[in-house]
């Protein structure tokens, strides 16, 4: 067995969870592999990790891995995670969400968790569609694309998740793709190591719903699309605007320092006791 597979197996729950719910060819498995490798690389103890999710395809991820795992309500993962982190700051809290979960129903929680700078690492798998319910358009479905609820064409403009995170004040924002798996490992590790509200947007694909309706081909072809349309942050600085028109940047988009909520709250505790 390959070393990399042995490593993955070390973190999977072996009793009663498999087969998993994801379609053959789905990128969520690649993202999960990356998440596990990054956790291993960071050297966290399994007991100190809390993996929190919402609802959707990505929301099903925590059940398969051997951490403290919490599968919450749709869009609300960050609110539960906030409570966990503040009640026990020693825990390493990681949230995984899909695009609909994170920036549609959970959009308000997303911007506020970022603004507050709660120490949570947030992993968002963006496959441009609601997969689990059968391929409806999400806030990240590009203009002009077909889904089961935009059968003629999507006439809404889409969110750019990473830019939203930057605008909301996240101290670390990175973007990767499931095609660039090695790079994703490194970005994931940086996301987890960053203190404060860190975000990694992972561009994935839903070939069974979104890809099929838009004639984008198989999972492999959709991953090729990722390869052809992703440009590293470094390379993008040397490209002209019209060259970047149909491209998206991958790499670290923001890395800055701001006071972290639970550390600031220690000050409040001190002031409160002094005022008593």
């Amino acid at each position: 067995m390959a070393e990399v597979t042995k490593l993955i197996h070390k973190y999977l729950r072996h009793d009663k969870k498999f087969p998993h719910v994801w379609c053959p060819g789905c990128g969520i498995g690649i993202m999960l592999g990356s998440l596990i490798r990054a956790i291993d690389e960071c050297g966290y103890n399994k007991d100190e990790i809390v993996l929190v999710s919402g609802i959707g395809c990505t929301g099903r991820m925590p059940v398969y891995v051997d951490f403290n795992t919490l599968h919450t309500t749709h869009g609300r993962a960050l609110t539960f995670a906030t409570g966990i982190k503040l009640a026990n700051p020693a825990l390493k809290v990681i949230v995984v969400m899909g695009d609909g979960d994170a920036v549609a129903i959970g959009g308000n929680h997303f911007i506020h968790a970022a603004r507050r700078n709660v120490d949570i690492s947030t992993v968002i798998l963006n496959n441009s569609v609601y997969g689990m319910t059968g391929g409806q358009y999400s806030p990240t479905t590009p203009y002009g694309m077909k889904t089961t609820t935009s059968p003629y064409s999507n006439v809404e403009q889409s969110f750019n998740i990473s830019e939203l995170a930057v605008a909301a004040g996240a101290v670390f924002v990175a973007r990767g793709t499931v095609y660039h798996a090695k790079m994703l490992d490194g970005l994931m590790e940086m996301t987890f190591k960053k203190k404060g509200f860190s975000v990694i947007e992972v561009i994935g694909h839903c070939h069974t719903q979104y890809g099929k309706l838009n004639r984008m081909g198989s999972a492999v072809e959709m991953m090729k699309w990722q390869k052809e349309h992703a440009v590293t942050v470094e390379k993008a600085t040397q490209m002209k605007d019209d060259e970047l028109k149909d491209k998206f940047r991958i790499g670290v988009l923001v890395d800055k320092e701001l006071p972290v909520f639970h550390e600031e709250y220690e000050k409040i505790r001190r002031w409160a006791k002094e005022a008593k």
């Binding site: 729950r13 009793d15 009663k16 969870k17 399994k46 007991d47 100190e48 809390v50 929190v52 925590p62 059940v63 051997d66 951490f67 403290n68 795992t69 919490l70 599968h71 919450t72 309500t73 609300r76 960050l78 609110t79 539960f80 995670a81 906030t82 409570g83 966990i84 982190k85 503040l86 009640a87 026990n88 020693a90 825990l91 308000n108 929680h109 506020h112 709250y265 409040i268 505790r269 002031w271 409160a272 006791k273 008593k276």
Partner: protein, 380 residues
Amino acid sequence: MKKKTKKELLLQGNEAIVEGALRAGCRFFAGYPITPATEISELLSVRLPQVDGTFIQMEDEIASMGAIIGASLAGAKSMTATSGPGFSLMQENLGYAVIAEVPCVIVDAMRGGPSTGLPTFPSQSDVMQARWGTHGDHPIIVLCPSTVRECYDITIRAFNMAEKFRTPVIILVDEVVAHMREKISIDEDEDIEIFNRVKPTVPPEWYIPYEDTPRGVPAMANFGDGYRYHVTGLTHDIRGFPTSRPDEIDPFIRRLFRKISQHFAELHMGEFFETDDAEITIIAYGCVARSAKRAARDARERGLKVGALKLNTIWPFMRTPVEKVLQTSKIIIVPEMNMGQISREVKRVNKTDAKVFTINKVDGTIITPEEILRKIKEVR
């Protein structure tokens, strides 16, 4: 010299809820401003950090409810407080706390509704929202104080019940009781039972997080204790993993009900006031219970045999105590500040010849003893 631990305080109902919560061990509060519950947030933002607890103002009530569930899973006794509109926003996550069996306390300081309704006039119109606001079949514990002292005691009991039964507990307080001030004495040395969740004593590899027990309540490990397990809002098996097997779903849902229904006697709190020989009994709760007792006393002075049954537990419905007064009284009067949310329950359990009359007030004002006395004269 021994430190004086007994304090005489003039407190608002909301303030007494805060004192009770802290005494019960509450160390996490998440909330969103709303009248008439805001004093609870304001006071806890002062008090919680003094005891190494955490106060956070979330972006809305949905987030507040999520945060207290998360904090509880990480080991903190947690609470939120709101009013009708915010309580509606909490309902989805409230159901999550029921199915995942996460202890927490929710205060709903009731104002008139529906919708934005009557800020801030009193009402008791969330009785059924507290019972059935969240979707799906579920049991729920709802308590209702009628005095400032009861705000203190009932909040402690609410935390104890939440921890003991691994369930959300709702405190329904009407605006009158929430804002009313009364003298109460609190003794820090008073021997009050404080219950903490039962934790597993077995090694992690033996731990079955949703295993049935004689009480119907499984032991609860906190995240970080070394018992890595899965928590989900999906129907789950005894290990906490999602299941769609009928033979696993049925015992799970039935256990959720059984853990409450086999402990009705322990959950039911109330007061029989001069009911033994009463021909007429008033059944009331919240601020109306105060008027009910006064009306009974005034009626007795006029030679009428009137008593009152105060309900401090709203759900599960206090069937046995209510049946007792139904058997001994000819007439029952249920005054409430809604269109009849509890009187319907009284009628439902009535298998006697006793007649049940209602007083329903929905104009944003309280029900006075005189109004109850008038009804007594009218129906006797």
